[in-house]
Amino acid sequence: MERDLAIEVLDVEKSFGDVKALDGITFSIERGEIFGLLGPNGAGKTTTIRTILGIILPDSGEIRVNGERFSSKMRDIFGYLPEERGLYRKMRVGDLILFFGRSKGFFSRELHEKIDFWLKKMELFEYKNKKIEELSKGMQQKIQFVITVISNPDIIILDEPFSGLDPINRDLFKEIILDLNGEGKTIIYSTHNMEEAEKLSNSICLINRGKVLIFGKLGEVKEKYGTNSIVVESEDDISFLRDYDFFSEVDIYKNYAEFTLKEGVKPIEILKIFTEKGINLKKFQVLEPSLRRIFVSSVKEEERRAEGVLEN
């Protein structure tokens, strides 16, 4: 079946002075997905997003939106929540949302209904005629979110949408994102919080130093990278595992260990060690590794490779 692609990023490069922010990035996003753009700080997530939005132009490569090359008309397809939030502090809430709605070419009477709808949903309806500066930070975050979605955009791009939110707003936003996705909207968001990405995304793209390390459906990624991961918990000291050489990735504490076995090593061999030593196990689980683990290991691997290149 032909994949219905909302966005294609094809071999995009972008430099700022001597710094190569994007070094040949390629990935694609299917319509109706929740797509997680992951990477450590400074990996190039925001630059990638800005390139997709046409805020900055790539030095080379191409962005396609709905199969077409980017043009300024496409701006109105997107709803964008930038990482660094900002609103006109002196404007009234209603006027502000109205302005951003109209900025997207949304002029009909429906816009006013939409504004009321969203303000009610965010429990801010009584603040409609208040100035932004009179609102608390949490309320301003909600307004910023309303601005992002007010024009009913097909593609919603959220740069670190959960950073700086209190738990209540976090849950609210998550719920709204899922609702919007249920309505068929494509959601793209960036984060460095892997646990979150794991729960929310259909597909992920992991970037580091301007390069794509991993890209694909979440399940496929886990399957590919996720063999032979083991979690052990015990009341006894199991830190002796550090002396063994079975693991490619380890995270061992006194009573807890999480590790990936080297190729060819079977989980049963590890279990044997515990029985030989008479260790009381509380938990022994073979599992898909967490995204965090995949992330850390592939970033490390990439760094090792980069150093290797330098040494040669």
């Binding site: 701006r75 006109y88 302005f99 900025s103």
Partner: protein
């Protein structure tokens, strides 16, 4: 693209016109200006006693004699009454009790020594002037009498009457018109001063707007919706309309003053009325044309500068050159106003930056040939387009830059791109 510009324009206009500071500078300031300039004039004519009672202590004797002989026909506001030296303490008391306005002590040979006027309010210039006039008459007639020329009071008046100097403004078309240099200088000056103020003020306002959007990070949301060019044009036009609104309001105020002054010309402000009679409507049109040219030229530069800065402190340093480009033409215009047709004035009226103020000044004070006016407008307009384009290039890159301000070398590279 045009509706995008319109949306930015609309927001800029509405938000700024709603601000208190706009209302104050547009309506309250001119009202205060009116109040402070015209109220004293107005009060001066309306109030004050009908007649001034003034005691005369004459040690010379001539004035006494003169006053008793001509008493019947005296109609002026000055009511002299004769008294003598022994009454001075009583006169003093009367002055303090406001029974009389004051008293005059006339020494022997007052025509060379002068007289002394004792009163409560020594600032009443009008009264003092009319006393001086009256005593000039007395002095002249006394001097003539010494030369054995005995004249009646009417003959006296004819002899000492001065000659009025009327000034006429020579125009290309039609007859020479009466003008009044002192006042028209003042009016042209205030027109140019307002132009200067507005250019500086709106330049600073628009620059601050961009910096605010950058520092509040709202810029990024805007850039996901607008191209930098749309954003800059929207701002330029939106804030420009605010300025235009203000100027139109000022002109309406000026019109109202002109109207009332014309109606009450004889009563209160004959000179002002005359000035407004001389200003024809085209001056206002030219004013708006040169305001717009100057506005777009300077404000686009301020927007470009604003886009380079992340904080207001950054802007303070970098904006100085542009501020100079407004201040220097303003100061030059004030000098050139005395010589609007000198070669320097003519040349300056074709140089962008100078042209808006200098050319307008020339139009308002003399009648420059129409081709000069047109040439000045065309040159300035072309330069303004150039300035807007250049600023747009800087703006496009500047708005996304944070932190370190780019070097002039970098800015220069963007301009060439």
């Amino acid at each position: 693209m045009f509706w995008k510009i319109r949306e930015v324009l609309r927001r800029e206009y509405i938000e700024r016109v709603r601000k208190k500071s706009f209302w104050i500078s547009t309506f309250v300031l001119p009202l205060l200006f009116l109040l402070f300039t015209f109220l004293p004039l107005f009060l001066g004519t309306v109030s004050g006693p009908k007649v001034y009672k003034i005691g005369i202590v004459d040690e010379d004797g001539y004035v006494k004699e003169k006053l008793t002989s001509e008493k019947k026909g005296d109609k002026g506001k000055l009511r002299f009454f004769l008294t003598d030296k022994s009454e001075i303490s009583k006169l003093k008391k009367d002055v303090l009790n406001k029974k009389i306005t004051g008293y005059i002590v006339i020494p022997h040979e007052f025509e060379s020594k002068g007289i002394s006027f004792y009163t409560l309010n020594t600032n009443n210039v009008k009264l003092i002037k009319s006393i001086a006039e009256k005593f000039r008459e007395f002095a002249v007639s006394k001097r003539l009498k010494k030369m054995n020329l005995n004249l009646t009071s009417d003959e006296m008046k004819k002899i000492i009457e001065g000659v009025k100097v009327e000034t006429f403004k020579v125009k290309k078309k039609g007859k020479a018109e009466k003008s009044n240099f002192g006042i028209s200088f003042l009016v042209v000056f205030s027109f140019i001063f307002i132009l200067y103020m507005i250019l500086i003020m709106y330049g600073a306002i628009s620059m601050r707007g961009v910096i605010e959007e950058k520092s509040s990070r709202i810029m990024e949301v805007l850039l996901s919706m607008y191209s930098p060019f749309e954003l800059m044009m929207g701002k330029l036009l939106g804030i420009g309309f605010v300025g235009l609104t203000q100027i139109v309001v000022y002109m309406i105020f000026a019109g109202i003053i002109g109207f009332f002054a014309a109606v009450q010309a004889v009563l209160i402000l004959p000179q002002i009325a005359e000035v407004f009679k001389n200003f024809n409507f085209s001056i206002f049109i030219y004013y708006i044309v040169f305001f717009l040219l100057g506005y777009f030229m300077y404000t686009s530069m301020f927007l470009g500068i604003g886009s380079l800065c992340s904080t207001e402190e950054d802007a303070q340093n970098i904006q100085a050159p542009v501020v100079f480009l407004i201040v220097i033409p303003f100061v030059s215009t004030i000098y050139l106003i005395q010589n609007p047709d000198s070669l320097v004035s003519v040349i300056f009226s074709f140089i962008p930056f100078f042209s808006p103020m200098v050319m307008f000044m020339r139009i308002a004070t003399t009648s420059p040939p129409f081709w000069q006016v047109l040439l000045s407008i065309v040159i300035t307009a072309l330069f303004t387009i150039f300035s807007v384009k250049l600023s747009a290039k800087i703006f496009r890159i500047g708005v996304l830059m944070y932190g370190k301000r780019p070097s002039f070398k970098e800015i220069f590279r963007w301009m060439r791109e």
